[in-house]
Amino acid sequence: MKKLILITTAALFGGTVAMADLVFPSLSYRTGPYAAGGTPFADGYADYFTLINERDGGIGGVEARVIECETSYNTEKGVECYEATKGEGALVYQPLSTGITYQLIPRASADGIPVHSAGYGRTSAVNGQVFEWIFNYPTNYWNGASIAVKHILELNGGDISDKKIALLYHNSAYGKEPIPTLQALSEKHGFELDTIAIDHPGQEQKSQWLQIRREQPDHILFWGWGIMNQVALQEAINIRYPMENFIGIWWSGAEIDVVPAGAGADGYKSLQFHNVGSDFPVFDDIEEYVVKRGKAAGAGDQIGTVLYNRGLYSAMLAVEAARTAQELHGVAEIDASMMRDGMEALMMTAERMASLGLPNFGPTFQVTCENHGGEGLGAVAQWDASAQTWSLITDFIAPDLEVIQPLIEADSMAYAAENNIELRCN
């Protein structure tokens, strides 16, 4: 009994200490079929928080604590991770999976914990009037589809009415996300849209690429993930499809997607919602305060890769939202609802990014009560196989909100009606 009391006291004491931290759970996947993509993201996410703790002494003087929980990119495990960590005082969840995000939307909304799905998840969560606790700034899949079409328009002198665009997609909720947007854009610009599904995991895509070879689309948009990406690149090379006309979403545009295909992948394009490479001052700080002190996450060998940068960028957005929340509420030890307020008031300006050592690293945007997605900008990057580097070849491009906004409105309002959600921000 005495022992039990001691353990309980220690646990309570430990709990009190934990409350003094700012807790950021990291639902990572370093194992399983998608580990190659999950590991660099998790490293970048963890390293940025380590940097903030080591260099700045935390956020507003309070240490950030990252609780990593392995999901293996499995939705059930993701939900288990959420349930296991939410009691630790979690400020925000970044599930890194559209499937997990969909599962967490009702749970986190009921628990009053914000969810941030940057560049994935439910697109219509942009509507803050309906989704109080869900955020998806700086951009989303529908914006991605629009940005890709805008790029194709630019390549074709503004007229694509005689063009055929194929969407090659992961046959899942994720892969199907851009279809309504592309259909609306097809009506607006007059191009022919062909949708071609690939089943998970996508190791065998011969049928799809024979179809592409027969139908000869002028451009291919690609929504793939995991092994599907590497196989698609190889198959495109096999049928000698022009790589500069092949554009992947940001989840199909990392080094791991193109390197296995070798020189043939040269010229392949992908969308990005953050910059690429390590030519930014913040990486000097990471070297000095994280790597040299032996505190780099994982093996420390992913720094500067596309997915590492995405993890770092996501962590930076979380830190800046926490800072905003601290300023708004005048306290350093914020809770999840204060964090939500900070996220809703987040403004990323060029000056702010430069002051963080990340000049032009991401698009500028402002989150509001009504708009949880920001302005939705994204850029196009291209792979140089000889230099083994990605480079942004456009500025951050604004999506066609004239087409997307009504779709967001319709989808989010339908969700609100289904779930009896009262609109806010009035």
Binding site: G32, A35, A36, T39, A197, Q203, L210, Q230, V259, P260
Partner: protein
């Protein structure tokens, strides 16, 4: 020739080629099931493990480098060598033999006489264990696979120019056949020939067949079950290496490679779990069936039919012939 017929012929040929790739995976399952009655759930992971080991050895990667560095504070990652592909295949085969010995020594030796479901569960455990070991040994990153005999003779990929040109001359439409698939077909033919010669004309092969036919009778004539099972797992390990190399050449070597086992299951259901020719024919039927269905019916129902249609096809065969096309007929006397 009508255009659709030409497209259909191209799809048919590509289906045959895809079927060979499926059969390569299915062969490993058949070997182990035939000799020991174990449905080896770990066969896909063995292909992954073998391919990762092949690339690791070839590139001179230090196994367990991250673990060693974390424990001893060192920074070693590479031995600094680049091995020839054949040497790497040889060394990987030795690793697979060691794995076979360990599997037999530490798992199945203690499970002799257990129910098939227990043995199956053990292979599930083995699959996850092997996946973890592969991760610790070689890391989770995607590895590029280069199999070359000389600097200019590597595993080819891309459209076969000759077939493209010839079919264009004949029909006005050039057929797409992937060079990698042609290579896989040749390798599969060679592999099956070697397996048949081994099982028919060598002492060990005959002992393997004897064990497959009747364990107790084989024991009574002095055949060591332990030795034969290690031999079978070693051969299955080598088959897994071949499958891992062929599939890994398409996508790079990565953890998703273990999912190729999913492609082998309908092949086994159709071809039977105990027949090497069954695995080949089953692979071809599944490959052609799923590709033609996708070509003819897929566009009408939204596409992506291949995964489920392969299983529908296999189930149809099961209904009429539960033991599969080439499986041993199930006779139970009361």
């Amino acid at each position: 020739m009508p255009e659709q017929l030409l497209f259909g012929a191209e799809v048919f040929l590509n289906g045959l080629m895809a079927g060979v790739m499926y059969a390569l995976v299915a062969l490993g399952f058949v070997l182990i099931f035939k000799a020991s009655g174990i449905f080896n759930f770990a066969q896909g992971v063995m292909a992954l493990f073998a391919a990762m080991t092949f690339v690791g050895i070839q590139d001179g990667q230090v196994p367990f480098a991250h673990l060693i560095n974390a424990i001893f504070g060192t920074k070693i990652h590479h031995f600094g060598w680049e091995l020839h592909s054949l040497a790497a295949i040889f060394l990987t085969s030795l690793v697979m033999i060691c794995m076979a010995w360990a599997v037999q020594r530490f798992i199945f030796q203690y499970l002799v006489g257990q129910e098939p479901i227990i043995l199956f569960m053990a292979t599930i455990g083995l699959a996850y264990f092997l996946e973890g070991v592969a991760d610790l040994m070689w890391g989770a990153e995607i590895k590029t696979l280069d199999v070359c005999l000389t600097d200019n003779t590597c595993l080819p990929q891309g459209i076969n120019q000759l077939i493209d040109a010839k079919t264009y001359d004949w029909f006005g439409y050039g057929f797409f056949i992937d060079n990698l698939d042609i290579s896989a077909t040749l390798v599969a033919m060679l592999l099956v020939t070697v397996l048949i010669v081994f099982s028919q004309y060598t002492k060990q092969g005959r002992a393997m067949r004897a064990v497959a036919d009747d364990h107790q009778a084989a024991l009574s004539v002095g055949i060591s079950l332990n030795y034969i099972w290690i031999l079978v797992w070693s051969v299955a390990g080598f088959v897994a290496l071949v499958a891992g190399i062929m599939w890994g050449a398409k996508s790079g070597v990565q953890f998703s490679l273990s999912l190729i086992a999913l492609k082998a299951l309908p092949v086994l259901m159709l071809g039977g779990f105990t027949s090497i020719p069954g695995a080949i024919v089953g692979g071809l039927v599944i490959g052609v069936g799923e590709k033609l269905f996708e070509f003819l019916v897929g566009p009408m129902i939204g596409g992506a039919t291949e995964n489920w249609f392969a299983y529908v096809l296999a189930l149809l065969f099961l209904v009429f012939r539960p033991q599969g096309l080439f499986g041993e007929k199930i006779i139970e006397r009361v």
